[in-house]
Symmetry: C2
């Protein structure tokens, strides 16, 4: 048979994708539907499937097929798929199973205890568990770093962002550091002179849900291949054929659920428009976490909080909640573009958000590379929050270094994706504007099709066919840089 | 290691149960949550998992362990578990994979086409597909019959009802046939003299759901381990730790959704109260489809439509829908106990229901044994409906032999479970009454705990530890017979 080894691989990855389908749906159910008493059995079922997937992916035959397929006559797409297959296999095969299991157990323990330790501000208890997670993550990083010939932190970064290195991040973030604090201060100063009217609740959950569904329709979400539900931590899950997004409702607050829906719809449209011609193959998956985040932030920040879009969002809000002074267009726009530095990353506006990410990056990198220890984190956190945002977290672990879930299960290397995503989004929006001269007018008219067509053409349809670098060069004509993010923030906030 | 082969088996079945968990949740999602566009990918994912489960279950090592474990020192429970393991293995291993696959494909094709053929009354088209399903089911029956040394139909019956044979069914059903037509005629005649007031809608869906949830609470459903949702065909799914029941709402009709919920709650309480001391083992599963149906009919018919219970259901109805003449207790009771022979099995009252089952049993048995062909079905159906219920289905395939989904995918041998369940339920209720002298008074007072305690003690906690025959003998002191079903119908309807 022609390309026999490559064909064996595609069959294996198709099979794996079907198991991933079940894992994705059972995972969505766990957060959106499952009653509490179902938790233990679900955890065991998912772990059993995870073991199976790991065994299939790291099987010796897969390694042999990967080697032999290199010699086969593959076209460009097949070569790209082979590259992604090899990457998935090697990522999984590097670690001894004992380490995978120990890390999973330590992560579960740390995450589980964190749920009560965070509200209790119990750094002492939390740090004990975190030390074990860090110890195992350092071990993982050491093994990955040796195999790849890169630094330890870079080896973890690579899990989430292929092609990205801390050397590149340092350049990008140093650039941000050179202008962002000043821009933030100016934006805050400028806004201190505005008087804003806050939306008045309550905002009934059912009406919020209706508004969310209407916005999703406006944004082109395909309801034949997806749903909107509720979960404590909003996310975008499911599979490309059946994308499940979630939000959470607070009857006293209107915009956080609504912009949460807009954000997740960005993730969802990327998933729903991934290429269909390679079913179950890695080449058909989303490129990376930062590119994924670029799509959600494109929807939420670039498009969603622009005045051109807000004027089309307002009728939906008014239809569901009636007229009130806060819903006058200029006030509504200004309200959605408030800049207000605070302790909590997930509540941050887009101007102060990078501060939250860069301080975490600085700390987690030093931690993995062994330059600092877990006990050093609170002081460093306080120092960096003071420097960036003028806020002290001394003794306030809950709203400081204990606020995020990422480190509890060893997700070191993930945080940079958020700010990379914001920069990609700005660069992509700028490129779309250059490519489509009437873009702003069409958005103002309420016609979003040109914009979505451009994303489809330049991002969504490519899946993982190109490397991140190629993808972004092809879409924007240049490498990732922070120029367009700066331009965007300057134009919107100064 | 002690009992090494048995231990290998328990690990294998625990692993299988975890895959079944994922299959059950993804199956529930498919009917209760999934958008239409997710269907193809879900079907492939579930089929892939099904192939894996079949491979694990029929692996040669399992056969070897089963043989070797026979010699090991096992206690009674372990022996019962081994018996159930062997049964599951042999059931699956008997059939060649090619037949399993052909039957699955023919069944999907027939079921899929039936969805439009039934509304179109297209017997011609339907019978073409059904012939292929029957051909493959006969082949399956032949293989199973040879291996077990029983008749072909009995070999299929055994899949759903271990211990049950058509010889026993013939005796049981012959007995029913000797008195039921007369009882039915008398009940209809008696009720023709009553004047009943029908409940007046509309009954808003949200209120119906609220009523359903209240009834579930009253019936002891554990919401920490289960949910109520909506699906086109109501069912009880999920896993014992997380039971998912569904219903469907019609705003013009109150009682069908509500009694659907009561029915499924009976299934659910059985599942939620299965034994916990053998996690993932076959001994911990529900005994059979007829015993399962006995629990739902116990809840829906024996308890649910009794006046003693209805007087406690009424306040929930009135609280949600207000007072109206139909909600006077005697009228409400009589309305819930109407006997009205009709074409459709799923809409039938408990007096005419056995007619629907027995006519299907007679036809499917003759079909599998080769005494009749698919083309003979409509005439036989019409003849039997005329004889039993005085209704003609000539030319009306839609409301005749095309109304059910069971035969479309080759589920021959299932139908008897419904009437066996009704007989078991009556026999069990009678036994509970004998064991608990104050039972009727406690139900009248609204205290259902003695009744549920008795079911827990006599049915739920046993899982598949006992054979169906042992279970029912131990619970009621005698073998299954129709005496108590007759007593129940006589007391309620004459
Ligand atoms: Zn996101
Ligand atoms: Zn049932």
């Amino acid at each position: 048979m022609e390309n026999e080894n490559y064909q064996q691989l595609t069959r294996t990855f198709l099979r794996l994708s079907r198991f991933s389908h079940l894992s994705a749906i059972a995972g969505w159910d766990m957060f959106a539907m499952m009653p509490p008493g179902g938790s233990a059995a679900r955890g065991e079922a998912l772990a059993e499937l995870g073991v199976l997937q790991h065994q299939i992916l790291t099987d010796k035959k897969v390694a042999q097929w990967l080697t032999a397929a290199q010699q086969e006559d593959l076209n460009d797409d097949e070569q790209a798929n082979l590259r992604e297959m090899a990457r998935a296999h090697h990522q999984a095969a590097l670690l001894p199973e004992s380490l995978v299991e120990a890390k999973s157990l330590a992560g579960s323990r740390c995450e589980h205890a964190w749920r009560t330790q965070r509200p209790g501000n119990d750094w002492q208890g939390f740090s004990t568990n975190l030390k074990e997670v860090v110890r195992l993550s350092r071990e993982e990083a050491r093994i990955r770093a040796e195999a790849k010939g890169v630094s330890r932190y870079d080896a973890l970064l690579d899990i989430f962002e292929p092609d990205m290195t801390s050397a590149r991040l340092d350049v990008l973030f140093a650039d941000l550091k050179s202008w962002l604090p000043d821009l933030l201060a100016q934006a805050v100063e400028k806004q201190s002179r505005q008087t804003l009217i806050a939306p008045q609740g309550p905002f009934p959950t059912e009406k919020q849900r209706e508004s969310g569904l209407e916005v999703m329709r406006m944004l082109g979400f395909n309801f034949d291949h997806g749903r909107l539900d509720v979960s404590a931590h909003p996310f975008c899950g499911g599979v490309p054929d059946d994308v499940r997004i979630t939000t959470r409702y607070n009857e006293n607050e209107l915009l956080s659920a609504l912009f949460g829906v807009i954000h997740e719809t960005g993730h969802a449209r990327y998933e729903q428009n991934l290429p269909r011609q390679w079913p179950g193959q890695p080449i058909a998956l989303a490129r990376s976490t930062a590119i994924h985040e670029s799509q959600s932030l494109f929807f939420e920040m670039q498009l969603g909080r622009s005045k051109a879009f807000l004027q089309h969002l307002l009728p939906i809000v008014i239809e569901n909640f009636g007229i009130q002074p806060a819903f006058e267009l200029d006030n509504f726009t200004a309200w959605n573009q408030r800049v207000k530095p605070g302790f909590i990353r997930v509540d941050a506006d887009e101007v102060s958000y990078p501060a939250h990410v860069i301080l975490r990056y600085d700390i987690e990198r030093a931690l993995i590379d062994g330059d600092i220890e877990v006990d050093d984190i609170p002081a460093l956190w306080d120092e960096k929050m003071q420097a960036w945002l003028g806020l002290s977290t001394k003794g306030n672990y809950r709203d400081g270094c204990m606020q995020d879930i990422h480190w509890t299960d060893g997700g070191f290397g993930y945080f940079p994706s958020y700010t990379l995503g914001a920069m990609y989004a700005a660069q992509l929006f700028n490129a779309a504007r250059s490519a489509l001269p009437g873009l702003d007018e069409s958005i103002t008219r309420g016609d979003l099709n040109p914009l979505f067509g451009w994303l489809q053409q330049n991002i969504w349809q490519h899946g993982s066919r190109l490397s991140t670098t190629q993808l972004i060069q092809q879409a924007t004509g240049e490498d990732l840089n922070s120029r367009y993010f700066r331009q965007h923030l300057t134009a919107r906030y100064l």
